[in-house]
C-alpha cells in the first residue's frame, strides 16, 4: 500500500518555518560565552524536529544539512563546545540557507548549491576545530554477509532472560517473524523451568533451539531479535559454517538497525561549486518574502464568535419572516379598512422596524467578526526586524537599539504580507541614512547607541505603523536640490518643510551618490509609497535635521472594505476614502485667491492650500461658478493638503471595494468602484490620480 505523503507536507513546512524563527530569535538572545543551556536546548530541539520531519518526508538535503547544525548545537549544549560569536553568526547564516532550502522544497524551486556548499564548509570547519569530531561519521557495520540466493539452514539458539516479557516483547512474535523468513522448526528447552510453586507468572523460563531453512541473510535474523538483544542470549550459526559468530549482550558492536543508516557526510565544497544551478538573486542574509499562503490559522475563539453571530442573524431573519407572514395574513382585512386590523398592521410595522434595526446590527457585527478572521498580529512582520537590525548595525559599524511596541496590533493578513518589504526598506533606510556612526553621534552630543522605534497601534479604523529614529534627519537642502535637478519641482515652487521632506517619495528620487548595498538596489522610496498606496494606505515622513525622522504609515484594516465619504459631482455619486481626508468644509469665497494665472489657493487658517475642481478634473462643463456655498474636501497628497471642490457632501459609509480593472481597465482618477445600497455603481476616488490628471490638464492649457 502506498500512501501519498504530500498531504502532510504543508504542515511540515509550516512547522519548519516556525521552528526556524524560534531558532533565530533564540540564537539572537544567546549570550556569547555563557550559553544558557535551556536556550541551546530549545534551538537544538527545533533543529532536531526539522531534521526528523525532513527525513521522513524525503527532503534529504534539508535533513542532512540540519544534521550538521544539530551536531554543532549538541556539542554546545553538552558543554564540549564554547558558544562563540563566530559560531552563533555561522548558525544564523545557516538558518538562512536552511530557509532557502525549505522554500525550494516547498515551491519546487532551485537552491543555490554554491551557497549551501559554502555554508557546509563553514560549519564543518567549526566542527573540526573542536577536540572531538562530530559523531556523524559513525559507520554502521553490516552483519556478516552471506551470498544470497543459496538456501541455507541456520541454527538459532534463543535463551531469553527471565524478564524479557517485561518490556512487552513476546517470543511468539519473533517466531512469527522468523517463519516469514523461511521454514521454521523449533524445539523448546525446559532447562530453566522452575517447580510450579516457585514460578513467577510474569517471568519467562523457556528457551528454544530453532532451525530456519531459507534464503536468508544473517542480518535479517538478527533484525528479528533486534529489540531483545540485551534481554537474551542469542547465537545464530550457519549449519556447515566452520566459524559460528556469536551475538549477545556482551558484544558492544552496534547492531544493524532498519533501515541501514547512510553515512551522513556533507558534499565537498569543490564539487558543488561547479554545479550549474542558477545563483539566487537574494543574498542569504536577506529574509525572503513569504509567498502568499493559501491558508490561515484562526483562533477558535474567533470562529465561535462568528458562529454565535450567525445564530443571531438566523433569529433576526425568522423574526422578519414572521412579521412578513403576519402582514400578508392581515393584508386583506386591513385593505377593507377594518380599524382593528389597521392597528395590527401598525404593530407589525413596528416589529419589522425593530427587526431591521437588529438586522443592521447583526450584519455589522458579523462583518467585524469575519474581518477579524483575516487579522493577524503584526508581530509576524516585526519579528524580522531584530535580526535585520542586528545584521545591519554590525555591517555598518553602528550601534543601534531596536525598541518595538504594539506587536500584538492586528491587521489583515494580505496587508501584512505586503507591508513587510516596504517596512524592511524603511528600517534599512533609517539605519543606513538616518542613524549616524558612533563618532558622529558622540560629537553631536548624542548617546553612542542610536534608537530605532517601531510602533504599531490602531487609530480610528486604521492601523498606524511608525518608524522613528533619532538620527541625522533629512537634509532638506540636499533633497530640494536633487528634486529641482530631476525636474520634480521647479526652483520657483514654494514648499513647506513637510513637503520638502516628502519629496523623497517622488518617483526617480535617490540622494545616495552610491547605491549602497544596504538600501539601494533600485528599490526606492517611491516603490515603498506605491506599495503602501496599493494596499489602500498612505505614508508620510516628518523630520528634523539633527534630531531624527518619523515615517508614519497608515493602513486600512482590510483590503476589501473601505470607509468612505460620499460626494456628488456633476450629478454622480463618488466615494472618497476617509483615510485620505484631512477635513471637509464649506467654501468661504473670500478665502480664495488666484495665483499665477489659473491656479487657485484657499486660505485655511494660516496655510494656503491649492484647490482643484473635481468637475474640471472629470472634464465636465466648466461651470465657472463662483464657488459660492460649494463644498471642499481637503485630502492629503504627497504629504501636503489639497482641496477638492465638489457639488455636495453626502454621508459617510463603509463600502465594499470592487475592481474596475477586472472587466474594464485602470482609470487614472479612480481606484475602484463600489455598489451602493440602491444597487447603482459609485466610483472610488484615487486622490493622487486626481491631482495627477489635474496637473496634466492645466499644463495642456
Amino acid at each position: 500500500m502506498s500512501i501519498d505523503m504530500s498531504q502532510f507536507h504543508e504542515a511540515f513546512f509550516e512547522e519548519s518555518f516556525e521552528g526556524l524563527e524560534i531558532m533565530e530569535s533564540e540564537l539572537l538572545t544567546l549570550d556569547v560565552g555563557e550559553g544558557d543551556v535551556e536556550i541551546i536546548n530549545t534551538i537544538f530541539r527545533a533543529a532536531h524536529s526539522i531534521k526528523g520531519g525532513a527525513g521522513t518526508f524525503g527532503f534529504m538535503n534539508v535533513s542532512e544539512f540540519t544534521h550538521v547544525m544539530e551536531t554543532l548545537l549538541d556539542e554546545m549544549r553538552d558543554g564540549s563546545r564554547d558558544v562563540t560569536q563566530y559560531a552563533v553568526d555561522s548558525l544564523l547564516g545557516s538558518i538562512d540557507v536552511l530557509r532557502a532550502m525549505l522554500e525550494a522544497a516547498r515551491d519546487n524551486g532551485d537552491v543555490d548549491e554554491g551557497m549551501v556548499a559554502e555554508r557546509y564548509a563553514i560549519l564543518n570547519n567549526i566542527l573540526n576545530k573542536g577536540d572531538e569530531a562530530a559523531s556523524n561519521s559513525e559507520a554502521e557495520p553490516v552483519g556478516a554477509a552471506v551470498t544470497p540466493g543459496i538456501a541455507q539452514v541456520w541454527q538459532i539458539s534463543f535463551i531469553p532472560h527471565t524478564d524479557l516479557l517485561m518490556a512487552g516483547n513476546d517470543p511468539v512474535r519473533m517466531f512469527r517473524a522468523l517463519s516469514e523468513l523461511g521454514e521454521v522448526q523449533a524445539t523448546v528447552d525446559l532447562a530453566k523451568l522452575l517447580p510450579f510453586n516457585e514460578l513467577v507468572p510474569e517471568d519467562l523460563y523457556l528457551c528454544w533451539t530453532v532451525t530456519l531453512a531459507g534464503d536468508t541473510l544473517k542480518a535479517d535474523i538478527e533484525e528479528v531479535f533486534e529489540w531483545v538483544e540485551d534481554d537474551c542470549d542469542l547465537s545464530i550459526t550457519l549449519l556447515d559454517d566452520a566459524e559460528p559468530r556469536e551475538l549477545g549482550s556482551d558484544n558492544d558492536s552496534p547492531v544493524v538497525s532498519t533501515p541501514p543508516q547512510e553515512e551522513i557526510t556533507p558534499p565537498p565544497a569543490s564539487l558543488k561549486a561547479e554545479s550549474t544551478v542558477p545563483v539566487m538573486e537574494n543574498s542569504p542574509t536577506k529574509p525572503k518574502k513569504p509567498t502568499e499562503a493559501a491558508s490561515i490559522r484562526v483562533g477558535i475563539d474567533k470562529v465561535d464568535e462568528i458562529i454565535n453571530l450567525v445564530g443571531e442573524l438566523v433569529i433576526t431573519q425568522s423574526m422578519l419572516d414572521q412579521a412578513g407572514d403576519d402582514l400578508e395574513a392581515n393584508a386583506e382585512l386591513s385593505a377593507s379598512g377594518d380599524s382593528a386590523s389597521q392597528k395590527i398592521n401598525a404593530d407589525i410595522l413596528l416589529r419589522l422596524s425593530k427587526g431591521l434595526a437588529q438586522l443592521e446590527r447583526n450584519t455589522r457585527e458579523l462583518q467585524d467578526g469575519v474581518m477579524r478572521i483575516r487579522m493577524l498580529p503584526i508581530s509576524f512582520v516585526f519579528s524580522r526586524m531584530p535580526r535585520l537590525v542586528h545584521d545591519l548595525s554590525s555591517k555598518l559599524d553602528k550601534k543601534i537599539e531596536l525598541v518595538v511596541h504594539g506587536e500584538e496590533t492586528e491587521l489583515d493578513k494580505t496587508v501584512m504580507e505586503n507591508i513587510g518589504d516596504p517596512l524592511v526598506h524603511l528600517v534599512r533606510n533609517a539605519l543606513d541614512h538616518g542613524v549616524e556612526i558612533p563618532e558622529v553621534r558622540l560629537a553631536a552630543g548624542k548617546p553612542e547607541t542610536g534608537i530605532l522605534n517601531l510602533n504599531a497601534y490602531h487609530q480610528g479604523g486604521n492601523v498606524i505603523i511608525e518608524i522613528k529614529d533619532d538620527g541625522a534627519g533629512i537634509n532638506k537642502k540636499k533633497v530640494l536640490a536633487k528634486a529641482i535637478e530631476k525636474g520634480i519641482v521647479s526652483s520657483h515652487d514654494k514648499l513647506s518643510d513637510d513637503e520638502v521632506n516628502n519629496l523623497i517619495f517622488a518617483p526617480g528620487f535617490s540622494t545616495a551618490d552610491v547605491v549602497s548595498d544596504v538600501s539601494g538596489r533600485g528599490v526606492g522610496m517611491d516603490v515603498v509609497k506605491t506599495s503602501i498606496n496599493k494596499l489602500g494606505g498612505r505614508v508620510v515622513v516628518q523630520s528634523e535635521e539633527g534630531k531624527g525622522s518619523v515615517f508614519t504609515i497608515r493602513l486600512p484594516l482590510t483590503l476589501a472594505i473601505l470607509d468612505g465619504q460620499l460626494v456628488t459631482v456633476g450629478g454622480e455619486s463618488y466615494v472618497v476614502p476617509l483615510i485620505a481626508i484631512i477635513e471637509s468644509l464649506q467654501v468661504d469665497r473670500a478665502q480664495i485667491n488666484q495665483v499665477a494665472g489659473k491656479a487657485e489657493v484657499y486660505k485655511l487658517r494660516d496655510e494656503y492650500i491649492p484647490i482643484i475642481r473635481a468637475r474640471s478634473v472629470f472634464g465636465l462643463d466648466d461651470g465657472v461658478d463662483d464657488l459660492h456655498e460649494s463644498l471642499m474636501v481637503i485630502v492629503e497628497v504627497d504629504g501636503a493638503p489639497v482641496g477638492i471642490i465638489v457639488d455636495e457632501l453626502q454621508g459617510q459609509q463603509q463600502v465594499v471595494i470592487k475592481s474596475l480593472e477586472t472587466n474594464y481597465r485602470k482609470v487614472e482618477t479612480m481606484s475602484g468602484a463600489t455598489i451602493l445600497g440602491d444597487g447603482t455603481v459609485a466610483l472610488i476616488w484615487d486622490v493622487n490620480g486626481m491631482v495627477g490628471v489635474h496637473k496634466k490638464k492645466s499644463h495642456k492649457n
Binding site: K658, L660, T662, Y664, M670, I675, T680
Partner: protein, 175 residues
Amino acid sequence: MSTSLEPVSDDIETNDNIHQNQYLTFLLGDEEYGVDILRVQEIRGWDSVTTIPNAPAFIKGVINLRGTIVSILDLRERFGIESVEYNELTVVVVLRVKGDGKDRIMGVVVDAVSEVYHIAENELKDPPDLGYAINMDYMKGMATVDEKMISILDIDQLMSLRDLDQATESGEQLA
C-alpha cells in the same frame, strides 16, 4: 473580485461543436451586425449607468451586473454613426471578450437584437469597400442571409484594451 455570472449559452470550450458558427445578430439603424453566439453572456434591457470620468465618448459608463462592475460601450458612437436616444427597446448585449491574457465582460448598446443564424466559415466573405466602412480589423467578414448583408464583428479586436487605451488618450472614434 470574481465574476459570478451565469452564462446564457454554455461554456465556450465544451460546446464548440453544437454552437460553432452560430451568430447572434443585432441592429444599428438599418445595418445588421453579428457576433459569435458563444461570446454572448446575456442580453439585458438598458438601465442607467455610472459614468467614468475622462473616458472616450463611446464608453457610456459601468453597471452593476450581479455584483461585478461591467463597462458598457455604445457601438453607434464607436462606429461613428449618428447616435440615438435610448428607450425601453434599447438593448445591451453582454459579451465575453478575450484578450491580453484574460477574459473580460463588457456590454454593448444596440438598437435591437435580431436573430441567430448559422453561417459556415466559407460563407464569410471579405467586406467590400463601403463608404462609412468600419475599420476592417474589427470584422471577421460579411455574410448574406435572407438577402440581407450581415457584418460579422470580431469583438476581441473591437474591444481590445489597446484600442480602449488609445481612444482614451486621443478621444478618437473609430470611423
